[in-house]
């Protein structure tokens, strides 16, 4: 499986026309923890097939926004719409089933499982997930042949990320950067419509970062949609089409890198030069 299939190629070919289409729509979400207002009416949109950056100082509410979108938290108010449907109150697994998949700020690989198992756990619709099918001889054949397919997919993904030499290594033994790669690859195994990446480059060395970025670029050219939290301002400016700036739980500003850069003085004045 080359991530993203024919439908996405069409999307890529008619980029201009379709990029105006809104895939994710966050409207006025608020969330308080005790007395602290982590989110205070944040609103933004992400268009299909774009790489959108979400930036803001520490405590601006970026991770909370991710948690609300992915269903880990229910917002106190506001709504999240994905592909035209309301997903505000969906549980995390249902959100992921809709095609909106996230990664975590600290890589959360399954430590005591091999890299290969980490990838093979992800694909949806595995018939062997019903407990009895893989037990009885009559139904086991179908499970096994699907396992072959899942293995093929996982192997291609490992090669795509150049970590096939680690296939049988326990994920817990991987370096920090390799774990980030693994988590990214694992999320892609779900063939998501949109990926939420929470600081995918944190703790990743420059050469690996280059590799990750080129993967993201490849996938985007195939029509994959990304929302990316990142602290490296230069990286965001260089790679993202749209940038969302958050501050104190609100969306301060949304625009192209040029627009945000031209507002930089404003931001600097606003945030004390501490945006990135």
């Amino acid at each position: 499986m080359t991530p993203m299939s024919t439908a996405s190629d069409e999307r890529a070919s008619s980029d201009d026309q379709l990029s105006a289409e809104t895939l994710l729509e966050v409207e006025g979400i608020t969330k308080s923890f005790g007395g602290i207002k982590a989110l205070n009416g944040a609103s933004f949109e992400v268009a299909t097939g774009t790489l959108t950056g979400l930036i803001g100082p520490n405590g601006a509410g970026k991770s909370t926004t991710f948690n609300v979108i992915s269903g880990m938290f229910n917002p106190d108010a506001g709504s999240v719409r994905f592909a035209g449907e309301d997903i505000t109150d969906l549980s995390p697994d249902r959100t992921a089933k809709r095609g909106l998949v996230r990664t975590f700020q600290l890589a959360r690989e399954f430590q005591n499982m091999t890299v290969l198992e980490n990838l093979m756990i992800a694909p949806e619709g595995q018939i062997g997930e019903s407990s009895w099918r893989s037990v009885f001889p009559g139904t086991r054949g179908a499970v096994r042949s699907q396992e072959e397919e899942v293995f093929e997919e996982a192997w291609e993904m490992l090669e795509f990320f150049d970590i096939d030499h680690l296939a049988l290594e326990n994920a817990g033994n991987l370096s920090g950067g390799q774990r980030k790669l693994l988590e990214f690859a694992r999320a892609l195994m779900l063939e998501p419509d949109m990926l939420l990446l929470d600081e995918p480059f944190a703790g990743v060395n420059p050469s690996l970062e280059e590799k990750l970025l080129s993967r993201i670029e490849t996938l985007r050219s195939q029509g994959q949609t990304f929302l990316l939290v990142e602290h490296d301002m230069d990286l965001i400016m260089e790679h993202c089409e749209r940038i969302i700036v958050m501050h104190q739980g609100e969306t301060l500003l949304t625009g192209t890198p040029e627009e945000v850069r031209s507002e930089e003085q404003v931001i600097e004045a606003y945030l004390g030069g501490n945006v990135a």
Binding site: S91, D93, A96, F110, N112, I127
Partner: protein, 428 residues
């Protein structure tokens, strides 16, 4: 030669066989030293195997729950109790039809009653797991422990000793306990199987021993079946998600898996097997009482898993062999050997007497007192074992071993890929 030996050791069945063989040899030696005859030796192995097999089944379930799914179930004994009590009540003769005047029941045939017992244990598992899904593992453990105690105390309640509902009289027997069902194996050897017993006697083997050995054989087959079932469950996409839940439940949820559904299913499957375990274990002893189902048994099974290493099915079986062979039955044999060869006789009943003699310069009473405390010695041995394990191999004997969760052999496929990539040359 060494190489082929180490490949042989790779095979799980070989590991289990070698460990079992070593423990058998130890017991045969002890038996020879004690002057056992053929029947005595066979009986000693029968008892050993009986307990190993039953602990093995329990350990496999604990491993499925804890080693694979991260479900800290310390209510093992409660689900065993539900299984055996249900089956017993279902099989007891209907009121008025049992001449002995013992507690009446529903009078169902044993096979149906066994299915009933297994289903009841599964249903109880569902009731226990449902409210506990949101709890962290330590709180989950408390719930299961409490659940097992509730079941034991309910079985003990005098209100349930004998009662009439919808015109049917039945009961748990309360604190006095209840007679269980006849063992079909006994019945076979008392009827159609009589010639076999007679033939065995001519070789000097006790009649009752034949029955006992046959029952152990049936139990071993049951263990094989449970092992097969659990290995297939674990090495599958289902088992893969269970391992994911164990390692990081939230991350598993983020991969579009409904983790609650997986936890419920695996818990129920484990509880059903535990119900069956209770039916063949305590049920085969002819009589059950609430006192049999104290938490200690749960912890013994857990210790077997800890020795073997959580996460490994082979480890669970080997842990059971070592636990039963050394910790559980070891002290009794040690005492008999000491009595035989050191010439210690009699008994010292209290600790002060033993210590008093020790202070007086006489070691024998102190030794005698200690060797008499078989159950206390088990606890001491357990402690020694666990401390050694914690210092040397905290993950258990087989805890670091990899049992990859997939219905196909991934390791060989990866090897093939690498080999073919190597054969293609370094064209890339």
């Amino acid at each position: 030669m060494l190489n082929s030996l180490s490949t042989l050791w790779e095979n799980d069945l070989v590991k289990i066989g070698v460990t079992l063989g070593a423990v058998y040899a130890l017991y045969l030696l002890a038996g020879a030293a004690l002057g056992y005859d053929l029947s005595g030796q066979l009986n000693s192995l029968r008892r050993l195997t009986f307990l190993i097999v039953l602990y093995g089944v329990g350990a496999l379930v604990v491993n499925l729950h804890w080693g694979y799914s991260g479900l800290f179930n310390i209510g093992i004994v409660g689900f065993m109790a539900v299984g055996v009590y249900t089956t017993t009540i279902l099989t007891r003769p209907v009121a008025g039809q049992n001449p002995t005047g013992t507690l009446p029941g529903l009078g169902l045939p044993l096979p149906i009653a066994i299915i009933g017992g297994v289903l009841a244990a599964a249903a109880m598992g569902y009731v226990a797991v449902l409210p506990s899904l949101r709890l962290r593992e330590d709180y989950f453990a408390i719930v299961t422990l409490a659940f097992a105690e509730i079941i034991r105390i309910t079985a003990k309640a005098s209100e349930l000793q004998e009662f009439t509902i919808f015109g049917t009289t039945l009961g748990t027997g309360g604190g006095r306990g209840i007679r269980t069902y006849p063992n079909p194996i006994d019945q076979f050897f008392n009827g159609a199987g009589k010639p076999i017993v007679a033939a065995a006697s001519s070789f000097g083997i006790d009649g009752s021993l034949v029955t006992g050995l046959a029952f152990v054989l049936v139990l071993t087959l049951l263990l094989g079946l449970v092992y097969w079932l659990i290995v297939r469950l674990a090495e599958s996409p289902f088992g893969r998600v269970l391992k994911g839940i164990r390692d990081d439940e939230q991350a598993t949820t983020a991969l579009a898996k409904d983790t609650n559904s997986f936890k419920i299913r695996v818990f129920i499957i484990g509880c059903a097997i535990l119900g069956l375990l209770g039916i063949v274990w305590q049920g085969s002893q002819g009589y059950i009482a609430p006192g049999l189902f104290v938490p200690q048994l749960t912890f013994f099974i857990w210790i077997a898993v800890i020795i073997g290493g959580a996460g490994s099915n082979t480890g669970s079986i080997i842990g059971s062999i070592l636990f039963v062979g050394i910790i559980y039955l070891g002290p009794g044999y040690l005492r008999r050997l000491v009595e035989e060869y050191v010439g210690l006789q009699g008994s010292v009943s209290t600790f002060p007497n033993a210590v008093g003699a020790l202070l007086g310069g006489n070691v024998d009473p102190f030794l005698l007192y200690n060797l008499d405390q078989t159950s206390a010695l088990r606890v001491v041995l357990t402690g020694v074992f666990l401390i050694l394990l914690l210092r040397r191999r905290p993950e258990g004997l087989f805890g670091s071993r990899r049992e990859i969760a997939a219905s196909i052999d991934l390791e060989s496929r990866v090897r093939d890929r690498r080999n073919s990539a190597g054969a293609d040359g370094d064209s890339e």
